[in-house]
């Protein structure tokens, strides 16, 4: 009798079913569809930035003195900044730190936080206590404040800002996964697995974690919006990406002195941040409605 394999097969089919269900809901709701398209579009732009940008070198930071402060015009539809760099290319190249890095941050936060949460929830006892105390400790700081303090300590830069954000964000996933784990712990299939002598680590890996995927996914989608805002904020303050590397938050900050006349330097990167975050929030809303319309963080 292989109750375990049969049940896990059942769970697997369930997840494919859910995936298709999610897709169909998204496709039918115009806002969610638009958001998903925008996200995919931006991610593609970020990946293929060098191909998409009309002046990729400028986007990466190469100067073009002749075009300093050029207004939006033919050839440079979003104008140029103080160093003559094409704003359109800058915004495209800026998609990389704006999207890829936050995705990386969230992924790492999950990779650190989720297993910790699963272990804490599953084992209980003092392991749980210790992990939860540490989690509470990090959660005691408003996320951005902690990130700012860490960035200031490590030194400014994109890398350190990312590390700071990972450190600030992992506790949320620990708490989330722990909650799910605790409710799953008592379910019969887990009991059954334990009864048949399956090792704890296997149980966690094969039965518990797969069931945390949907709440994590919902959380992650919304978190991405927040992390993108946080990265932009750190760059705006000067703690994140350093010039001349491209970054939307940094561009808004650099263009601030000229916002009265050469408004395009700050405006377009700001709009870009807004659109991307909006898309993630809308998608997150939809996912939340699908998976747990009652759960709010």
């Amino acid at each position: 009798m292989t109750a375990v394999p049969a049940l896990s097969v059942e769970l697997e089919t369930q997840s494919t079913r859910t995936f298709r269900h999610v897709l169909s809901v998204i496709v039918r709701d115009p806002l969610s569809l638009a958001s998903t398209i925008v996200i995919i579009l931006f991610i593609l732009i970020a990946i293929f930035a060098y191909q998409v940008a009309p002046y990729p070198a400028e986007g990466a930071g190469k100067t073009n003195v002749a075009n300093t402060m050029l207004a939006p015009s033919a050839g440079h539809i979003l104008g140029a900044d103080r160093l003559g760099r094409d704003m359109f290319s800058c915004v495209i190249m800026g998609a990389r730190p704006a999207l890829i890095v936050p995705i990386g941050v969230v992924v790492f936060a999950i990779l650190i936080g989720a297993p910790l949460g699963a272990i804490a929830g599953y084992k209980g006892g003092w392991v749980d206590e210790v992990i939860m105390r540490i989690t509470d400790l990090f959660l005691a700081f408003p996320s951005l404040l902690l990130a700012m303090a860490i960035t200031s300590a490590l030194g400014r830069g994109l890398q350190n800002a990312a590390i700071a954000l990972i450190i600030s964000w992992w506790p949320w996933y620990t708490r989330l996964v722990r909650g799910v784990t605790i409710s799953l712990r008592e379910r019969y299939f887990v009991e059954a697995a334990r009864a048949t002598g399956v090792r704890d680590s296997v149980i966690i890996l094969r039965h518990i974690l797969p069931n945390t995927i949907s709440p994590i996914l919902v959380q992650a989608t919304v978190d991405l919006g927040t992390v993108i805002l946080a990265m932009g904020g750190l760059a705006f303050l000067g703690l994140g990406t350093q010039p001349p590397a491209p970054d939307w938050g940094l561009m808004v900050s650099e263009g601030r002195d000229y916002i009265l006349k050469q408004w395009w330097i700050s405006t377009f990167p700001g709009i870009a941040i807004f659109i991307v975050v909006l898309a993630f929030n809308l998608l997150g809303d939809t996912l939340r409605d699908i998976f747990d319309p009652r759960q709010y963080r």
Partner: protein, 540 residues
């Protein structure tokens, strides 16, 4: 605060929000004239000068002062004398000293003090006060190095003080310095000797026309007129000065346009046209003693090779840098001495932007296609450096030299440069200004004279010939200025040839003054005291 008062506050705020929303009947920001009082008739409101400044106080201690607080120090404190802008009828304006003289070889200087001058705390100005102030500065001042040649100070009588030097030096120039030359009340100096942080609570003890009335850290400073000021007061001068600390240039600009302030200290050069075309403002563009310099780490190959440094000097797009970084408001430097200050000379060489020559020199030096990389650091707070560092990077890239740009907080950049040169930066961008108007003993000496522990010699360059020339020139400054100048020119040309550093440009100082403010004159010898409030009058 308990819940009830909290609730009450919210309700009141809500009511006010609703009543205050919508177009204001009269914009509260346009008028700088105080609105009609709603209370019973009050005495004539004080004439207030409102200024927005980015600079806050690093320290209130006039002895330790060595930074941007000079903007205020110059109005609260005075030196013995003040140096006038180049081209003035007199070289100096007497302040606390009425007249002065030196002996033939410039080793003994005597200053005759102005009688009946009082400090803000009531103490009289005496030779003792001068002696105490200068000795304190020489001992532990932020700019104590300017007094290196001081042997002793003698009090001849109450109003006469004698400086005895170990070697000849222009004390008239040194005593007019922006730092380390303030005359401070002896009572305050004694208190400071007992308590290091005496001044930091916001205490000042000068003789200047304005006194400190109140101070909110990082927010605002209010100065009020010192009625007993020896210079006397005329109608139209300001009773009070309000300084609001505003870090962002764009906010300052808008405050000026909106009438919230009368004067500002930072407007982005790109936005000057707004004011040039506005008849309510005059835009002054003046030469200044600020310049931008770069240091090569001459201890690290391949920058230890003079030919490589020369090649790189030909690879700097000087004109583009000036165009982009300061919107054309600058001139390419001739060496590290800014134009207009001793011992500048038009006979000092300059590099041009010539990539062909650069490539040739690099090839001759053994680096035909570049092939090395350099780390360039600059102060992250400095927008100008942030603007032209990428231009250097791009230009060097054309030679095959890869530059990594690392913006750092000034103090971090500074600390890195003092660490082991093997780990330090390759190129260091610096904004410089001389402490007092002798850029031979300041700029040339400070920046390129070798010392065991580098102060500003961040190229770590050691050249005996240069040092000998500068030594001789400094020694002869007072006794034989002609020879001194010749030696300086030789030294500067040697410097340019050996290229331990890059000499970018001298910046111009820009001021936007509303037409109702009269009396503004920039004294470039005091780069951080942009405004001498005493000179200003309002015609409103």
């Amino acid at each position: 605060m308990n819940k009830k008062s909290l609730l009450f506050t919210f309700l009141m705020v809500a009511v006010l929000m609703l009543s205050a929303c919508g177009p204001a009947a009269t914009p509260t920001l346009a008028a700088t004239q105080p609105p009609a009082p709603t209370k019973p008739p009050t005495p004539v409101p004080p004439k207030v000068l409102k200024i927005a400044n980015t600079a806050t106080f690093t320290t209130w201690d006039p002895v330790k002062s060595f930074s941007t607080e000079a903007a205020y120090m110059g109005n609260m404190y005075e030196q013995l004398l003040r140096i006038n802008p180049p081209g003035s009828a007199e070289k100096f304006t007497p302040l606390l000293a009425e007249r002065w003289e030196s002996n033939a070889d410039g080793t003994v200087w005597t200053f005759y003090l102005r009688p009946n001058v009082k400090f803000h705390d009531g103490e009289p100005l005496t030779a003792d006060a001068v002696k105490m102030s200068i000795e304190a500065a020489a001992d532990h001042g932020g700019a104590s190095f300017i007094w290196w040649m001081l042997d002793s100070i003698e009090v001849v009588d109450d109003l006469t003080v004698k400086f005895n030097l170990t070697t000849s030096a222009p004390i008239d120039l040194i005593a007019s310095s922006l730092y380390g030359a303030w005359i401070v009340s002896p009572k305050a100096l004694e208190a400071a000797a007992a308590d290091e942080n005496y001044f930091e609570t916001g205490i000042e003890a000068g003789t200047g026309p304005y006194m400190l009335e109140s101070y909110k850290a990082d927010q605002e400073i209010v100065l009020t007129r010192f009625d007993d000021y020896w210079g006397g007061w005329q109608p139209g001068q300001f009773d009070k000065v309000l300084v609001v600390i505003v870090g962002e240039a764009i906010t300052q600009q808008q405050m000026l346009e909106g009438g919230q302030v009368d004067l500002v200290t930072r407007i982005p050069n790109e936005n000057l046209d707004t004011f040039r075309n506005n008849p309510n403002y005059t835009v002054y563009v003046e030469p200044s003693f600020f310049n931008y310099v770069g240091f090569f780490n001459t201890l690290r190959p391949p920058l230890d090779n003079a030919m490589v440094r020369q090649a790189l000097s030909y690879a700097i797009p000087y004109d583009d840098i000036i165009t982009i970084a300061v919107k054309g408001l600058g001139t390419q430097s001739r060496g590290p001495v800014p134009a207009g200050v001793w011992p500048w000379s038009a006979d000092v060489k300059q590099y041009t932007y010539d990539l062909t020559k650069a490539r040739q020199l690099l090839a001759d030096a053994g680096f035909p296609n570049g092939g090395f990389s350099l780390k360039l650091t600059y102060a992250a707070e400095n927008d100008t450096e942030a603007a032209f560092a990428p231009l250097i990077k791009d230009s060097f890239a054309q030679l095959g030299v890869d530059v990594t740009i690392e913006p750092m907080l000034w103090s971090q950049q500074w600390a890195l440069s003092k660490s082991d040169p093997a780990n330090a930066q390759d190129m260091f961008l610096l904004l410089y200004w001389p402490t007092y108007s002798d850029a031979g003993s300041d700029n040339l000496w400070s920046m390129f004279y070798w010392t065991a522990k580098p102060f500003f010699n961040l190229s770590y360059w050691k050249n005996d010939q240069f040092m000998a020339l500068v030594d001789e020139a400094i020694a002869k400054t007072v006794t034989d200025p002609a020879t001194s100048q010749v030696k300086y020119i030789e030294a500067m040309n040697l410097l340019v040839d050996e290229a331990p550093g890059l000499f970018f440009f001298d910046t111009m100082a820009v001021f936007v003054i509303p037409t109702y403010i009269e009396g503004f004159k920039y004294n470039l010898n005091y780069p951080f005291t942009q405004y001498f409030f005493y000179q200003l009058r309002s015609t409103k």
